[in-house]
């Protein structure tokens, strides 16, 4: 139900983004042509050169360090990505881009309220195989960095027990983008709407969750924190997204 709610929220947002892109179209240089020498009517412009996508990412995190923050080892995220096709030959193309994933979750850990959030910024390197009006399949590698923040409120601590940490992260995934509309006008460069799904493995470097109260600067109090073990946000994930290309 939560997933459905998020998707419903994303789709209108994506359409809004697409409309904005449509207005900007005249200023976009048509810099990428797989076959620049061919007559314009023979160019398949369905994949576009720019692409913006927004969606929902669900990750399955079996790490024991994730136990205090989730009751079901699942981590939901909002995904936003932009890419541009830089290279195309025949049905193949290569499109690098930037992606941002953000998610947060919470639970109770032995009766204490706990929360966990993560922002992941990655450079996506995407190889595509185009299938005409049916869209394209792709493989994606996305190295980057993730900012994790874990927090637990325990009544015995003067301040919440917390830790924030930047960590190396990367994703490997494969997916399929299905061209929703318009599908048949192959030679016209115009905004097109896509639905896509992908699955893969996400990896974030493990981090020792030594949480400590964030005492005010200058405090002379000596306080020991709590060691919750190693949190490794690693596991299979899927992503469902809507995209606009232009």
């Amino acid at each position: 139900m939560k997933l459905l709610t998020i998707l419903i929220a994303i789709v209108p947002a994506t359409f809004t983004t697409g409309a904005g892109a449509q207005l900007a179209l005249p200023t976009q240089p048509d810099t990428v042509h797989s076959e620049p020498a061919a007559p314009p009517s023979n160019v398949d412009r369905r994949e576009g050169s720019w692409r913006i996508e927004a969606g929902y990412r669900g990750s399955f995190v079996p790490s024991s360090g994730y136990g205090p923050f989730s009751t079901n080892e699942y981590f939901p995220e909002f995904s936003l990505a932009a890419s541009r096709t830089l290279f195309a030959r025949g049905p193949f193309s290569f499109a690098p881009g930037l992606a941002w994933d953000f998610g947060s979750t919470g639970a109770t850990a032995r009766g204490d309220p706990s929360s966990f959030s993560m922002q992941r910024v990655t450079v996506s390197l995407e190889g595509r195989v185009h299938l005409g009006p049916w869209g394209y399949a792709y493989l994606r590698a996305a190295p980057g960095a993730a900012m994790q923040k874990a927090q637990i409120d325990d009544a015995s601590s003067p301040d919440p027990l917390a830790k924030s940490q930047w960590l190396f992260a990367t994703d490997l995934s494969a997916g399929y983008a299905w061209l929703l509309w318009p599908r048949w006008e192959r030679s016209v460069l115009e905004p097109r709407l896509w639905l896509q799904g992908e699955g893969g493995y996400g990896w974030v470097a493990g981090d020792r969750l030594a949480l400590a109260p964030a005492l005010p600067s200058g405090s002379t109090d000596r306080t020991s924190g709590v060691d919750l073990g190693t949190l490794a946000m690693q596991g299979a994930f899927f992503r469902l997204a809507a995209a606009v290309s232009f």
Binding site: R110, S157, L228
Partner: protein, 566 residues
């Protein structure tokens, strides 16, 4: 595949995947901060019942705490520490009723600390029935589980069942036992005439039977060392020979060990019941005497365990003496005077003490300055060396009357009673008298009942006959350091004070969090090092840890102690 179908498929898959997985149930269980904490010689033990474990916190360098976690049985019932603070006994009820093969039996977990490093190890003893209470042998050989007056934990229960553990040996199940290889523990049902066990007392080693006549000696009767378990029920008294509790059964239907001896206090013809209380055992191993009084009459009962008639299951049998003391006594002790052994009984309603000669029941009344109701022997603390006669400290606890304390010198008490009492005035009613360990065992700490807005306690020097008051702004809780060098006063806010017994000057301190209880424990990282652990029973437990020997500016706050990963 059409678009709606693909979308539905993806959504269904996502929902299915999202619903799988789960975390260890450990994280779902809130910590019960009303759960028990126990101070051991070198660790503080916290029972984490929902996670079926005891967590030991040991002092480390720079006031850090190191953690040891030991499993215990399901459903914690009670726990007790050994007098030396090196053993923690944890009784668990198990899963009742047992329904699956994963359900646990009731059990006793014995957690033993290494006396040098305080590293812990544990031994588990399974039981057949869940019992709620524990009695611990002061010498560290036995532990006994019993139900007592606690509400039963299973639907139907025998309140007269006791389970005897020899904790110097490992667990032996009943299935693995044989008449020559007894189980450990052994269980038995105490013969009952309607009563149930209320209080258990372990005797010191006694040479029994006592008072063997020349004829009996000629007939081959010989005394041998015994440990006894004396059970006060609410209507009678039972005596179990612990030394022979693991002997082969007399018949296939009988339990292991010799049959217990029941001392009935009612005739069986009337409805009046007498409940034994205040039981004491003569420490002289050759006397074989036990004394007690009851809540329903004015007698002091003394038993001597003399040779039994031939054919009896036990080789000793109690010979009973009743001595009226004029009114209900409140406390009794075996004392040594220049005229020999006596039973001293305090009779507060008459403001007297009565000395009873145990053989002939001859009594001597000693008038007291106040209605003292409690008594403890302080002979070694007062005389500083072994003595043939005793000195008793008398006080009246919980009466709301400021009656002070008195030292009762018992050497000439029988003949010159008027010269034997020395009174020390204390301005407030006494709540409790706390012992101080050697080398300051000449001191007693008198906790007084809280006054209006302020309070005080007294450090009583039994040698100097002085009582130094220490005032506090609020009602104070007191903890005496096991090494006898200092004490701690605290409230349930963050106020804490160290009182060194050498100077008696309080050193005020502040904990970082509200204090529920404090423990002064040995710190193995330094020779003679000690840590003061002020527990905070909030959240998942916290603690403020001080260097107990030099606490100023040494505090470290440890938080979320039971939140560590499982």
């Amino acid at each position: 595949m059409s678009a709606p179908r693909l979308t539905s498929f993806c959504l269904a898959g996502a929902c299915l995947m999202a619903s799988c997985g789960g975390r260890p149930s450990y994280w779902d269980q809130p910590v019960n901060t009303s759960g028990a904490t126990y101070g051991l010689a070198g660790a503080v033990a916290v029972v984490d019942d929902v996670d079926h474990r005891v967590v030991l916190f040991t002092g480390a360098a720079d006031q850090e705490l190191t953690t040891q976690s030991l499993p215990i049985g399901h459903n914690f019932a009670s726990a007790a520490t050994s007098p030396d603070g090196l053993t923690l006994f944890v009784l668990s009820s198990g899963d009742q009723p047992v329904q699956t093969s994963n359900d646990e039996s009731p059990s006793l977990t014995v957690i033993q600390l290494n006396p040098t490093t305080f590293q812990a190890s544990s031994t588990l003893y399974e039981m057949s029935e869940p019992l709620s209470n524990l009695a611990i042998d002061p010498t560290g050989t036995y532990a006994v589980a019993y139900q007592g007056s606690t509400m039963a934990t299973s639907f139907a229960q025998n309140p007269n069942e006791i389970v005897i553990f020899d904790v110097t040996k490992g667990f032996v199940s009943e299935a693995a036992s044989s008449p020559t290889h007894p189980p450990n523990p052994v269980s038995r049902s105490i013969r009952s005439f309607g009563g149930t066990p209320q209080q258990l007392t372990f005797s010191p080693s006694l040479n029994l039977p006592a008072s063997i006549s020349a004829d009996e000696a000629m007939a081959g009767v010989k005394a041998s060392p015994r440990r006894l378990l004396i059970i006060e029920t609410n209507i009678d008294l039972s005596i179990v020979d612990l030394t022979h509790a693991f002997d082969p059964p007399a018949s296939p239907q009988a339990p292991f060990g010799l049959a217990e001896i029941t001392v009935r206090l009612t005739s069986g013809t009337g409805t009046a019941s007498l409940t034994p209380t205040g039981l004491v055992v003569d420490p002289n191993p050759d006397d074989g005497r036990i004394a007690f009084f009851t809540t329903g009459d004015t007698n002091v009962y003394s038993l001597q365990l003399i040779p039994s008639p031939p054919g009896s299951p036990n080789d000793f049998n109690p010979q009973i003496n009743l001595t009226p003391v004029g009114a209900p006594p409140s406390d009794i002790q075996f004392v040594r005077t220049l005229d020999g052994l006596r039973i001293a009984a305090l009779v507060p309603s008459m403001s007297t003490a009565v000395l009873i000669e145990p053989v002939m029941s001859v009594t001597t009344q000693v008038p007291l300055a106040a209605a003292y109701s409690s008594m403890s022997l302080v002979t070694n603390a007062v005389t500083g060396s072994p003595s043939n006669t005793d000195v008793a400290l008398l006080w009246s606890a919980g009466t709301g009357v400021a009656s002070g304390v008195a030292l009762w010198t018992l050497d000439t008490a029988v003949g010159q009673a008027y010269r034997s009492i020395e009174v020390l005035q204390i301005a407030a009613p006494i709540q409790a008298v706390l012992d101080v360990a050697a080398p300051n065992d000449n001191l007693k700490v008198l906790a007084t009942q809280a006054g209006q807005g302020s309070s005080a306690f007294y450090v009583l020097d039994l040698v100097q006959r002085t009582a130094n008051p220490i005032s506090t702004t609020a009602s104070a809780f007191l903890t005496i350091a096991p090494d006898g060098h200092r004490m701690w006063a605290y409230d349930h806010e963050t106020d804490l004070a160290l009182i060194d017994f050498t100077t008696l000057n309080p050193v005020p301190l502040t904990a970082d969090a509200p204090i529920s209880v404090v423990y002064d424990i040995a710190n193995p990282t330094a020779i003679g090092g000690r840590s003061l652990v002020a527990m905070d029973a909030e959240g998942t437990f916290g603690a403020t840890v001080f260097n107990a020997l030099n606490p100023i500016a040494s505090a470290r706050q440890d938080v979320a102690l039971l939140l560590e990963r499982p």
